[in-house]
Amino acid sequence: MTAIELAKQAGFDIKVEGNGDKRTISGIYCGDLLSMVMGRAKADDAWITVMGNINSVAVGVLADVTCIILAEEITMNEQALQKAADEGVCIIHSHLPTFETAKKIAELAAL
């Protein structure tokens, strides 16, 4: 399932489409410490976090995740959204807490 399909089905808010219509989700990683994410997230994971700054976008690109999902009603700042658009990173806002966000994705993508 692509990141965009998933966001639509889950009722999440797509802030930046990026490559989200081309890339599929093969796992989920939850975490906010950026080095932890770079060490442990896998390529093609959906990354769920509450870190909505420009460095998270850089980390999303490096870790090669399918999309960055901001949970807990946290929003990504404008500068970060702009960078995400430039880099083709799909950014999604979820109104749900982290666990419920992950659970919903796992169910929809049958992970």
Partner: protein
Amino acid sequence: MDNILKLKYDVDGDDFTRAGEASASVKKTLKKMGVPADIIRKAAIALYEGEINMVIHADGGEIEVDISSNKIIMILKDKGKGIENIELAMQEGYSTAPDEVRSLGFGAGMGLPNMKKYSDEMRIESTLNIGTTVYMTVCIS
């Protein structure tokens, strides 16, 4: 013989939003050269961690990246405060990152362990109050 492509970058000591320019540029270059995605991912993450460390813990510095057909050599040199105990700094979870960067998501104490994990060879030379040089090699293929 092997053609070596040499890339050089200056890392600004207090610009967080620009940190990552070297790794982004190296990533693009490797992609153009047709290097496999998993190798690019390793090299780019290792370089980004080193780049961020230069911004947070030193006052910026210089990066040299040498790319040949079978390996990527990355040398990160700063004139910062140096690392007193390298063995301790290499441990997962050890961090002296200040609060203002922790609030941005840094300070897990995983940067140096990631650099070791994602490079095939890594060496640190550091002298207190003189600076730190990190050498990393990522093999291609």
